[in-house]
């Protein structure tokens, strides 16, 4: 009786989870399969996979021919990689200072850096734009990199200093006795040990930067500095009635996220589950 009850319950749980999984995956699946079909098939049978008769790459040809997606990808890539590198380097240095040394104002400094975890940087946009205009940085990738570095730092410092507290004091003191400078201790002893935490922070920092629409729209809307997110937004806006092109552009925009997710999903999920413990 107990066993039958439990099988029934497990069955129900699986049914509910499968149903929700379908809800999450279906829209993505629908977009991708239809991007490979000709226009008639998209409308006649939206839910079937492309067959040899309906298969068509016309959408992809339009996108790659019209939009300058290579530049957009390059811009997004540069901005994301440089911002992550700066967040990790500056964040780890600050986290090390806060977790390793006792000095006056330590707690206050930690709190000051933590403000940015809760208060979104977007609220300062009016003055950020003003500052970027004054510094002649509008429509440059530098402006975006600076903003994203500032945006990513608070959480990075918070997570990394939690991890730095777990690095053994004996190891660092042994290094000090051997005559290593504080800088060597940081770069040669501590950094290699917290590499897993750095990977987690990198993934967390990357997603909002890659997907952001607000700052590219305001700080760098020029053709030469458009990111993929802004580029596809504008491209799709112009080609609203060309369904092949829209679906192909969407599929192309999903692709990098999907690839990264497949590579990093373990890291990301472990990061979220570990971070929530505290």
């Amino acid at each position: 009786m107990q066993a039958r009850h439990s099988i029934f319950r497990t069955g129900f749980v699986h049914a509910a989870l499968i149903a929700y999984t379908l809800i999450s995956l279906f829209p993505v699946f629908l977009t991708v399969i239809n991007s490979f079909k000709d226009r008639n098939a998209i409308f006649r049978a939206p839910l079937t996979v492309p067959t040899p008769e309906t298969f068509s790459l016309i959408g992809y040809q339009t996108v790659l021919g019209q939009g300058d997606f290579a530049t957009y990808f390059q811009n997004s890539f540069i901005v994301t990689v440089v911002a992550i590198a700066l967040v990790l380097l500056f964040g780890a240095m600050a986290a090390f200072a806060l977790s390793e040394y006792r000095f006056r104002g330590n707690t206050l400094m930690g709190l000051y850096l933590a403000i940015g975890i809760m208060i979104p940087i977007r609220l300062g946009t009016v003055a950020i734009l003003q500052g970027m205009v004054a510094a002649n940085l509008v429509n440059t990738l530098t402006a975006l990199i600076l903003v994203y570095t500032a945006q990513g730092l608070p959480l990075a410092v918070f997570i990394l200093s939690e991890f730095m507290r777990t690095v053994s004091d004996d190891l660092k003191n042994a290094g000090r006795i051997d005559g290593l400078s504080e800088y060597s201790i940081f770069f040669r002893l501590v950094l290699p040990l917290i590499r897993p935490a750095m990977a987690t922070v990198a993934v967390f920092t990357m997603i909002p930067i890659w997907n952001d629409l607000w700052f590219p729209l305001i700080l760098a809307p020029a053709e030469a500095t458009k990111t993929v997110t802004l580029g596809s937004q504008i491209f799709i806006g112009q080609f609203v009635t060309n369904w092949n092109a829209v679906l192909a552009a969407l599929s192309l925009a999903i692709l990098p996220v999907l690839v990264l997710y497949v590579i990093f999903s373990r890291q990301l999920i472990r990061g979220i589950t570990a971070g929530a413990v505290k």
Binding site: L17, L30, P46, A127, Q130, A150, L213, V257
Partner: protein, 316 residues
């Protein structure tokens, strides 16, 4: 070791040379963070007290706020955006977070198979950009394509279909539900982690006392994961009152139809940056940003000083 250091610090540091390396470690982060985040934030708050009078920036006190809350044209837009934003938040709290908790509760059932697969799949939409999510749903809900009516037909509800995104009465709900679809992964993951953290002994003790299944969830697990629910609530609050991208991609900067999906983020964008015939207005933009700041600050303070303090935490 740490004791020794604190003892040293008790006396004014005379023996120790100035520790420049601390400053050098802190400096780059402090510089970027202060220059690009904190100072602009303060400057924005300051700008909300100024306006251009006869071509000169002049201190006007709270006059901008009076205009925003009181003058007919501004007040109508502002209160409309605020009301929509509150509804947007309520829908997230009532739909997204309960679904997240339910999914997490199912995923955390011991010895359930395919958990990793479900988890990975359900979290996927969270990673997609608003542009992708917005357009995909716009296509699906579009009456031209007909996917949504066709799906409803499968369950015999075809008559229910309406162009939800195009009707003022339902557009806000539709946009909120799209956002829920995208973000349900976050509460799911955080609650899932909190549930996994409950020690087996607690569950075993409950089972010995005959508390199983539903009542176990309500009486044992739910109280233990309340702190995590508090965290997701405040995250939802900050995220919602700062939202912009999804409405912008689905409904455009005018947040149509007829302003029915206008929230504070889109209002800020239109006011500050200008749109179509409307010219950008820096002072009013700063004023709206300040109001958003105060709303978010109030929410975060309420959470930190009232809710989090009262919440009982269990140490295992």
């Amino acid at each position: 070791m740490s004791n020794a250091t604190s003892l040293q610090e008790g006396q004014p540091a005379v023996r120790r040379p100035k520790r420049w390396h601390i400053l050098i470690f802190l400096l780059p982060a402090l510089l970027v963070y202060s220059a690009v985040m904190i100072l602009p934030l303060i400057e924005t708050l300051r700008l909300s007290l100024y306006n251009t009078v006869d071509g000169q920036p002049t201190f006007v006190g709270l006059a901008n706020f009076q205009v925003l809350f009181g003058e007919e044209r501004w007040a109508h837009d502002f209160w409309n955006a605020l009301k929509n934003n509150v509804i947007f938040f309520i829908i997230h709290m009532c739909v997204q977070n309960p679904i997240g908790v339910a999914l997490a509760a199912m995923l955390s059932i011991p010895k359930l198979r395919f958990v990793t697969f479900y988890r990975t799949a359900i979290f996927l939409p969270t990673l997609l950009s608003f542009v992708i999510v917005g357009f995909i749903w716009k296509l699906i809900l579009s009456p031209i394509w007909g996917v949504a009516p066709w799906m409803l037909d499968l369950v015999g509800l075809k008559s229910m279909f309406a162009p939800w995104l195009g009707k003022p009465g339902s557009a806000l709900i539709a946009v909120s539900l799209i956002s829920v679809w995208q973000y349900v992964g976050i509460p799911m993951m955080l609650i899932y982690a909190a549930l996994l953290n409950i020690p087996d002994e607690v569950i075993e003790a409950a089972e010995c006392d005959g508390v199983t299944g539903w009542s176990q969830f309500w009486k044992i697990k739910l109280p233990l994961i309340l702190p995590a629910i508090g965290i997701i609530s405040i995250l939802t609050f900050v995220g919602n009152f700062n939202a912009f991208d999804l409405v912008y991609t689905v409904q455009g900067a005018l947040a149509g139809p007829d302003g029915s999906t206008d929230i504070l983020g889109t209002l800020l964008y239109r006011t500050f940056f200008g749109f179509q015939l409307q010219l950008g207005d820096r002072s009013m933009g700063a004023t709206i940003a300040t109001v958003m700041f105060l709303i978010i600050l109030a929410g975060v303070s309420l959470y930190l000083f009232v809710i989090q303090r009262r919440m009982r935490r269990y140490q295992f």
